[in-house]
């Protein structure tokens, strides 16, 4: 047993462009993925997450750097010799083969015995709840079922690492949510390392043990979902994961974990948790999540408390979403959870232009280096 299931060491991938130039898709990426981990590569399209995955699978070779799978350096090992299997975004099922033949394909390539193939295929189909579908052709299946066939086809090989390239992207929202939980349960059951590529931050938060957030070919932050959401290390991550409000200012003082930032538009200063790499005098982004802001109709005198004007209120059932203006058109989204069951609308709605006081609790306010 080696330390990591997959390791990317300073991997760079450049592609030639049709104009004769070069584009860097993956830029000095370092990843260490543990055995049995559900690891997600999360980022907007074009961030290099799929290219990274394809390099692990062996469809692309790194321009620089090393890829190590299960302790073995892959170099230019072709895909058919790598101990990994992939679930494609388009599923890439073999249309001319039945479900059984699709799932059996990988085992036939291993020259497994017929009896073993048939046993393992049945097991795999049972695992993805497709028992009895083995004689159907992919075209006769729904999108969700096709997705399961793709999963069974890869899992039946018992790979060291399963690579998933936005496998749920083509499914509708409800099915996607179901499959997210099912995939996670399946991963716990088989204990195989999953490397999961997605642009859906909610999906990544729901399923992953750890997430690597990527942008423009670089890994910005690696951490558990809680770390990524609660302690983003830069403005991009805070912005990309969930929703947040930003204010810009200059770092005035650093004291322990806290940073004091002066925001030009406000007379007072804002205190928040200092992110890594901050120094006094630096430009900083203050990030605060909408659900972490307190809103009060009575005057509050506390630090980080400001008066604001209600611009709009939207009642969405579980929450009331309020947009306030802190002055100078500094708008903030605030979500208040509706914990009562009152039927009087005034309980949930603020009046337009109503004066309120918002409190940015320092522990919930993050001060991040400006990108």
């Amino acid at each position: 047993m080696t330390d990591f299931a997959v390791e990317l060491q300073d991997v760079v991938k450049r592609f030639p462009t049709p104009e004769g130039g070069e584009v860097t898709a993956v830029d000095h990426v370092n990843l260490q993925i543990q055995h049995g981990e559900f690891f997600s590569l999360l980022g907007p399209s074009g961030c290099g997450k799929t290219t990274s995955l394809r390099m692990i699978a062996g469809f692309e070779w790194p321009t620089e750097g090393k890829i190590v799978i299960d302790g073995k350096e892959m170099g230019r090992t072709p895909p058919y010799l790598r101990p990994v299997n992939m679930v494609f975004q388009s599923y890439a099922l073999f249309q001319h083969m039945s479900v059984f033949q699709n799932v059996a394909f990988g085992l036939e390539m291993e020259k497994a015995h017929k009896a073993e193939i048939s046993r393992r295929v049945s097991e795999a189909l049972e695992m993805v709840k497709l028992t009895g579908m083995d004689r159907r052709k992919p075209k006769q299946l729904s999108g969700g079922q096709q997705q399961r066939v793709a999963l069974a086809r890869a899992l039946v090989k018992r790979p060291a690492v399963l690579l998933l390239d936005e496998p749920l992207g083509a499914l509708d929202l409800k099915l996607r949510k179901e499959m997210q939980l099912e995939l996670k349960a399946l991963q716990d059951q088989v204990g195989i390392t999953f490397v999961y590529v997605t642009h859906d931050q909610e999906e990544a938060l729901t399923m992953s043990d750890r997430i690597a957030v990527m942008s423009a070919g670089k890994v910005l932050q690696i951490g558990m979902p809680v770390e990524i959401y609660e302690r983003p290390n830069c403005r991009f991550v805070a912005d990309f994961i969930g929703e947040t409000n930003f204010l810009s200012g200059t770092v005035k003082a650093l004291k322990g974990e806290m940073a004091t930032v002066s925001v030009p538009q406000f007379k007072s200063e804002i205190v928040g948790m200092a992110g890594k790499g901050l120094s006094v005098g630096q430009q900083a982004a203050i990030s605060i999540r909408p659900e972490k802001i307190r809103i009060s109709e009575k005057e509050v005198k506390d630090r980080n408390c400001f008066t604001a004007r209600v611009v709009d209120t939207a009642y969405i059932g579980s929450d009331t979403r309020v947009i306030v203006d802190l002055g100078h058109d500094n708008r903030m989204n605030i979500w208040e959870q509706n914990t009562t069951s009152a039927t009087d609308p005034s309980v949930y709605y603020y009046q337009q232009n109503q004066r309120v006081w918002v409190t940015l609790i320092p522990e919930n306010t993050l001060v991040l280096p400006e990108d």
Binding site: P79, Y80, N85, M86, H96, F105, M109, A154
Partner: protein, 297 residues
């Protein structure tokens, strides 16, 4: 009381009657097919049961002997030989056309249309002229022999022209594009992800080709075979010019009966037989491969 809407109106009739709409929509096609497919076919079928007059005219007298005459070993041999040449042409066009179509389908997208254009380019030249070009290449003092003799590969000129080999060369040359185009279409449709999936599941490139690419290109191969085999059976220019009229195919037989022997009823019977044979062959071929209308469309 009379209202204007009560009067006959074609547009109103069409608006209200959906089956009439359908009829109106298919009628251009139906009329075309009737005029150019059904009518000539009925004429030929009818003709094949008539009698030849002494001066090559047609006598309207029912006569089944045209078909009986086709069973003569002389004509049966021509038929079998034609089937053989047609089959050989089909097989050779597959063998030569497949790598070509594969290469074009795998070429960068921008080069593909150029390559396809090059495949079709010879069609811009008259067919007869291209056949004469082949004659120039293949004849005893021709291009091929001159080169081979000068290179010292052979000592005595090869005798290719006016042999069955020459006929086959001409046929394969003529029909190759008809095989390459449908093959290209089905090869080009195969997603790269399918081959990646095969590689990912442990298939080496050759196995991936056998298990994925080849089966997925079968529809193209069938369509190409139909496009090659049927006209190859009826071809008479190539055997005439390159086979030195020594090689007789069904196409030559039909042509001769209509133009030289002036026995139209017998020629019509031979044409009917050829049509029935190719139809049977086509149906068998498509059904066996598990592709029905999909390919014929």
């Amino acid at each position: 009381m009379e209202t204007p809407s009560r009067r006959f109106s074609l547009t109103r009739l069409l608006r209200e009657n959906s089956s009439l709409q359908g009829l109106a929509l298919v009628s251009p096609t139906a009329i075309y097919l009737l005029l150019f497919v059904v009518l000539p076919m009925v004429l030929i079928a009818g003709l094949s049961f008539l009698t030849r007059g002494s001066y090559g005219n047609i006598v309207y007298q029912v006569n089944y002997s045209n078909y009986a005459r086709l069973l003569d070993p002389l004509y049966l041999r021509i038929l079998v030989y034609s089937l053989g040449v047609g089959a050989a042409t089909t097989v050779l066009t597959i063998l030569i056309g497949y790598p070509l179509a594969y290469f074009i389908a795998r070429a960068p997208a921008r080069q593909r249309s150029l390559l396809l254009f090059l495949i079709l380019l010879p069609f811009w030249t008259n067919f007869i002229i291209r056949i004469y070009a082949w004659i120039m290449i293949l004849r005893t003092e021709g291009f091929l022999n001159t080169i081979l003799l000068n290179l010292g590969v052979i000592q005595v000129p090869l005798n290719i022209l006016y042999t069955p080999t020459a006929v086959l060369i001409g046929m394969v040359y003529e029909f190759l594009p008809f095989m390459v185009l449908p093959l290209y279409t089905s090869l080009e449709k195969i997603e790269n992800a399918q081959l990646e999936a095969a590689a990912d599941l442990g298939a080496r490139p050759f196995r991936a080709f056998l298990r994925i690419t080849l089966p997925l290109s079968v529809p193209g191969m069938i369509a190409g075979s139909i496009l090659v085999f049927i006209p190859a059976m009826g071809m008479f220019v190539v055997p005439d010019l390159m086979g030195g009229a020594k090689t007789m195919l069904v196409g030559n037989l039909i042509r001769n009966q209509f133009l030289t022997a002036r026995n139209w009823p017998f020629g019509a019977a031979a044409a009917m037989l050829l049509m029935i044979l190719t139809l049977v062959f086509t149906l068998y071929y498509t059904r066996k491969a598990g592709f029905g209308e999909e390919v014929l469309i």
